[in-house]
Symmetry: C2
Subunit: 212 residues, 2 copies
DNA sequence: CTAATTTCGAACTATTCAGTTATATATTAG
DNA sequence: CTAATATATAACTGAATAGTTCGAAATTAG
């Protein structure tokens, strides 16, 4: 048999690498990128300064790793919230509800690292990553709309791309609103209303009530 | 006659107070709250350090003044964009277009101080201000919907409050998207689509194509 | 047990930063 | 012109910050 632990030579680390990154996520999430000092990370991650630099690099490098890991986890959760329900309405509502719930979770800071914090980081690599993440999110929703067409839940001329963008814009709006203290309850109600709106059938153009 | 200039005693100031605050706006707008140092403000505002402290106070005090002035100007412009057009569809589209255009103006930073920067400031007074500003924005849009009912542009059972919130959420979403580098052209197209969506008449619930 | 290896903890250094002080300068009042 | 007043410039002080260094500690290899 192989040594499954595959022990290395020197003194063993007193921290878990992925665990430390998750703690770093909370630090950036609650304080924003510029608001975070190395000492904040040292304290929050439970890693000594020299080890932190040796293992993770500087603040920017840590943030990039945090961002990637966060996006992967959050993307998976969002996909689950979107794809688990049977009906299309529940799918879209589930997606938006998930955005609200994760943005108002009491355990962690308000908002979302991807939506609220990272866009303010003045860094080309971060921006590029966020563009891809945003496109991925919209594509996920668009795919769900396509499945809805296949299942006959919406007509075949349903504007899947446009509505998908609108769903993600709603998610952004709701998430940002969580940041200014809007209560979860309010946001959850608005998430339902948003789901209803994007599924409205479009009968021609917006019809005036007294059609002249 | 009165001395219209009303000259004060000592050495005259070498800077204009409101002008300096506008410059400070650009500094906070481009660097975020935590990313700004006093030296940034000294350089950006064209005011010496001691004068800056004497006249404006510390960073937080400057930001609060900047925020109030910015909100007043932006609120007025947004109201104009919303209320100038004749038709309701143009009003809503104008409001959202204004959000996009001001968020992608080449002269200043991307995004919006109220939507993108201020919500991340960890300060109770700022948060309270933002809540009121957000409520004011939604009320403005809601009022326009009400006028639309009076004018017969939308039915009397149009959900004015819900749709108003949705319009502002769209504005938030579009504005945040400008931050990650989404081109103005794309956002303007999405603003039009959003205006169309919120004005769709709701014929009962989202009707499946094959109504069973 | 000894040597090699890796990490830990504490302290160190140079820099940046916030807020203040001291002095020079520009203006008005008389 | 002189005194009083208000601002500008520059320099100063103490604290915070980023990144590094060095010796002690914990582990494996032999």
């Amino acid at each position: 048999m192989f040594q499954n632990t595959a022990r290395k030579r020197g003194r063993p680390r007193s921290f878990d690498e992925t665990g430390a990154l998750e703690k770093a996520t909370q630090v950036f999430w609650s304080k924003g990128y510029d608001g975070v000092t190395i000492d904040d990370l040292v304290a929050g991650m439970g890693v000594g300064r020299p080890s932190l630099y040796a293992v993770f690099g500087d603040k920017r490098a840590i943030f990039l790793r945090v961002l990637r890991a966060y996006a992967e986890r959050k993307g998976a959760s969002a996909a689950k919230a979107l794809l688990s329900p049977q009906g299309l309405r529940d799918s879209i509502a589930g997606f938006l509800r998930y955005a609200v719930e994760s943005a108002t979770e009491k355990r962690s800071a308000r908002g979302c690292l991807l939506v609220c914090v990272a866009p303010l980081v003045n860094d080309a690599e971060v921006q590029q990553f966020l563009q891809k993440a945003a496109a991925g999110g919209a594509a996920l929703v668009e795919g769900r709309f396509r499945d809805g067409i296949t299942a006959g839940e919406i007509p075949s001329d349903f504007p899947v791309a446009v509505r998908a963008i609108q769903v993600t814009d709603f998610a952004r709006g709701l998430t940002m609103r969580s940041l200014i203290g809007t209560p979860r309850k309010t946001l959850l109600r608005d998430a339902e209303e948003a789901a209803d709106l994007v599924l409205l059938p479009r009968r021609g153009k917006a019809a005036p009530v007294g059609d002249s």
